[in-house]
């Protein structure tokens, strides 16, 4: 029994020594996550509207953009941007900035498709009623259409956000010192997998917070019952 206790104490002491570097990594992960979401959520909207555009060049650009960023591996995109700018233009961006740019472009493509589905699901009658009342196009979109899509797009958007928490780990391959890189460093150094377990717990913590947040938002936007009775 005392042997077990001593072992446990040793483990805890080891964990305590790991914490500073893992927490620093977790902080970078959190920043990467927040920056990506804050920038990609709005960026998806113009691409969603563009894909619905009647003006074909805009439609084509938006569709090609979505096709490329959804159709290639995120890890390839990370490598591409990490090496493309220095090789082609001699610009050396910070790896963190490079990964934010890559994640934003990638996730905006997914969000664009989610938004597009939500917008296309709005009944034509809503546009007609808005027109008949004299509302402008932007008043119709921002006041009538987008608020109604919220309810529909929230579940897939929060699902993507949870996927993003885990995708941030990919940034480690271009030397961003986030949680994955920090834990791998500790494991390689100490030949002890405890750091991975702690990293897993931290990732789960992030996911848990995100789940709570999305549940809260889903409740908020489902206040009204939108079943249309004909």
């Amino acid at each position: 029994m005392s042997e077990f206790l001593a072992g446990f104490q040793d483990t805890m002491a080891y964990v305590v020594t790991l914490m500073p570097s893992l927490m620093a990594g977790a902080w970078v992960t959190a920043k990467l996550f927040v920056w990506t979401l804050v920038l990609s959520l709005p960026l998806g909207l113009p691409f969603a509207l563009g894909s619905n555009s009647k003006f074909w060049p805009i439609k084509a650009i938006c569709q090609i953009y979505v096709f490329i960023f959804r159709g290639t591996p995120l890890i390839l995109q990370l490598y591409f941007f990490y090496f493309f700018l220095p090789i082609a233009y001699g610009i050396r961006l910070d790896p963190f900035v490079t990964s934010v740019i890559t994640f934003v472009l990638n996730y905006a493509a997914y969000f664009a498709e989610i938004y597009r589905g939500g917008i296309n699901g709005i009944d034509r009658g809503q546009y007609e009623a808005a027109h008949a009342l004299g509302l402008s196009k932007s008043q119709t979109m921002f006041g009538i259409v987008f608020p109604q899509t919220m309810r529909v797009i929230l579940p897939p958007v929060s699902n993507e956000a949870i996927v993003l928490i885990k995708d941030t780990a990919l940034a480690s391959i271009i030397t961003v010192g986030e949680l994955m890189k920090a834990s791998r460093g500790a494991v390689n150094r100490d030949v002890d997998t405890t750091a991975y377990i702690i990293a897993a717990i931290i990732y789960l913590g992030f996911t848990f917070v995100m789940t709570l947040l999305s549940n809260h938002l889903e409740r908020k936007y489902s206040r009204y019952d939108s079943r249309e009775v004909d």
Binding site: G125, A132, G134, I144, Y224, D225, R227, D230
Partner: protein, 248 residues
């Protein structure tokens, strides 16, 4: 069937203080061409302020298309349409905004389009809710009320913009027969208040009772028009006679 190409001219002339008896709407040689059919063919029609016109006719006769041409929901293909004022519309499927309470459905457009302040928009909305008999539904979402109540809210919403001409596109067609009465009752009240109204409807009794003039359309054309008495009791054309036989 002749294919029509050129562009329709729609003039909206905002005229203040239109008096009863002044022309509020004038249509000359209106055509509406859809990709596969000519929905409206050479329609001439005009009406006065305060007049109540019912448009009847079989399904696919172009009556809804003509009505939707008046407020631009359908772009007319050819012809001239002069509108002396603003329109409001009531739809077959209500088209209320499901994410807004009934009150907000009514106040939203006046606040956004006319920049009416919240207080006076809400006061106005409450008096309209009283008119349609739904004062207690102000804070309820449209998903929680019946079809007849929805349509009455939709009428209040259209009235909030104080339109010069109200367009009703089969306002009771989506309702169960036993609740059409509550909607028709509200429309009757409007009629008594001398609103200008065009009503596309299948409710022959209502048309007979409320309309000053009844227009019968078939195949995209106006076949016959006249007072309810002339149309229902003394139809001239064979097509109208045939139609009246099928609806009674």
């Amino acid at each position: 069937m002749t294919k029509v190409k050129s562009n329709g001219i729609v003039k909206i002339i905002l005229k203040k203080d239109l008096k009863a008896g002044d022309i509020i709407l004038e249509m000359k040689g209106i055509y509406k061409q859809f990709p596969n059919c000519l929905a409206v063919e050479n329609v001439d029609f005009s009406m006065h302020k305060g007049e109540i016109v019912a448009i009847i006719g079989p399904s696919g006769s172009g009556k809804s298309t003509l009505l939707r041409g008046i407020n631009g929901l359908e772009k007319i293909t050819e012809g001239e349409l002069d509108l002396y004022g603003t329109t409001g519309m009531v739809f077959q499927h209500f088209n209320l905004f499901p994410h807004m309470t009934c009150l907000k459905n009514i106040t939203y457009a006046p606040m956004k389009v006319k920049s009416v302040n919240k207080k006076s928009a809400e006061d106005k909305a409450m008096s309209l809710l009283e008119l349609v008999g739904l004062k207690d539904k102000a804070d309820v979402f449209p998903g929680q009320i019946s079809g007849g109540q929805k349509q009455r809210i939709a009428i209040a919403r259209a009235l909030a913009m104080e339109p010069d001409l109200m367009l009703f596109d089969e306002p009771t067609s989506a309702l169960d027969p036993e609740i059409t009465g509550e909607v028709l009752g509200v429309m009757r009240k409007l009629a008594e208040g001398h609103s200008s109204m065009i009503i596309v409807t299948h409710e022959m009794n209502f048309a007979k009772e409320v309309a000053d003039r009844v227009v019968f359309m078939d195949g995209g054309k106006i076949i016959e028009e006249g007072t309810p008495k002339q149309i229902f009791e003394d139809p001239k054309s064979d097509r109208l006679k045939e139609f009246l036989k099928t609806v009674y």
